[in-house]
Symmetry: none
Subunit: 265 residues, 2 copies
């Protein structure tokens, strides 16, 4: 699977958007998730591509805004699409069956990998959502789970969630889900400390804790097991071991001085 | 599990938002996902609650906008929070470890079910995101997967995705009580320390390191960022905080005696 190639076959369609700012926001929303194909059906403002608000909300995604295609009808906007999802907040009596957004994205990813043609996510006008006629042109309804008491998402935010779920599904489809965020990746430039180094630190720490009077090796209690648990959980790099041993040395030093009488004179 | 009850302990914090419209959009974003607790830290427009743009973007969520609390500092906005997620697009050299948003939401759900206190999602200012200082007040970094070539989401849209993932996780959590996440097993069912407790420890630690001569607050170098990174990675329980503060006190005590001349006589 090639994500950019599959992503190029995903289309986002806005039906009769009233506010150019929402079109600009939608352009930004899809571009942040790796998509480029934005279609606009019968917008209230035909010159939306250069409208001040649209440009302001698109920010660095103004290229997607400018390249968006404008159509007279939803049917035209869906040309070349194999499966269109109607984004609807509620089930329609006569519409296609409803699927939550997450499995809708997973299904779309499987289809893109297996068949030609594109997948589209279709969004209705701001105030009233998709008309029944628009829904009928789609093959599935996709629903974004929301609080039933306040289910109405802003148009651009619904586009953002659909694009995000589709991006997540494409990444999962390629087995890349966790790649970018491996917990260890932050340490790839730093060596984890060796067991010897870590044990050397624990001996040094115990000495420092003994010198400063919080630990008695003859009656040890739980200081050392807790220290091991804490640092075991974080893992330690060699740089951190160096820092911690510097602290141990600093804690030990003046006390020895004092015991040795250098400061007491 | 009672979703509305758990949802009431989820907080969304906007640091220094410049545009009232984004605050209004964020209010709507969280309310659509069943959340109500919005905090705003040092907004550019202190009268944002009645600002025309904020009200326009909040639409029917103006109640959440009006009830939002405004704070001078992020630390104040995090009062009562047990675990704060910094929403950041990239890994910080000294920040806490990065977790993708989806597992971050799942972990948060498990924590909310098992412990008292709240979970917060913290968002930086529009142009530049979170400062390193803000990130350091958080216990984890949560990342929204985006296209690496265009990763910059609008503030309100990042809030929308975080709220959506948290809503999805709370819904999924209803059937997943036994689904243990690594943090829980690592803590052996102990409470993680609160942000207040952790910050109190860092102040005490800095004092101890200063007294023992390894740290100079006037010329701080990297001791404190490294300390935060190390303990941020492990997470800290209240028991561990108690132990570490005992160590700080022990390190400080004899040196003060010495400096005070008691031993020098």
């Amino acid at each position: 699977m090639n994500i950019p190639h599959l992503a190029s076959r995903v289309r986002f369609v806005l039906c009769e958007p009233a506010h150019p700012g929402n079109i600009g926001s939608a352009a930004r929303a899809i571009k942040t998730m790796g998509f480029r194909d934005l279609r606009v059906v019968a917008p209230r403002e035909p010159g939306y591509r250069t409208h001040e608000e649209a440009v302001a909300y698109a920010t660095s995604s103004v290229d997607v805004l400018e390249a968006s295609r404008c159509h007279d009808t939803l049917a035209e906007a869906l040309e070349g699409v194999t499966f269109a999802w109607a984004l609807t907040g509620y089930d329609r009596e006569y519409g296609p069956p409803m699927t939550p957004m997450r499995p809708a994205a997973a299904k779309s990813t499987a289809w893109l990998a297996d068949m030609e043609g594109g997948v589209a996510f279709v969004f209705g006008t701001e105030r009233s959502g998709m008309t029944n006629e628009e829904v009928m042109l789609c093959q599935g309804c996709a629903a974004i789970a929301a609080d039933p008491e306040s289910p109405s998402l802003n148009l651009a935010q619904a586009v953002q969630i659909a694009a995000y779920e589709m991006h997540m599904a494409l990444m999962a489809g390629e087995g890349h889900e966790g790649d970018l965020y491996d917990w260890q990746s932050r340490f790839e430039h730093e060596m984890p400390a060796s067991v010897d180094a870590i044990e050397g630190f624990f001996r040094h720490w115990e000495e420092a804790m003994t010198v400063c009077g919080i630990h008695d090796p003859a009656n040890p209690k739980n200081l050392m097991p807790m220290t091991r648990r804490l640092f075991g959980r974080s893992g330690l790099t060699q740089t951190e071991i160096d820092l911690l041993r510097g602290i141990c040395a600093a804690v030990i030093r003046p006390k020895r001085d004092r015991i040795g009488g250098k400061k007491a004179g």
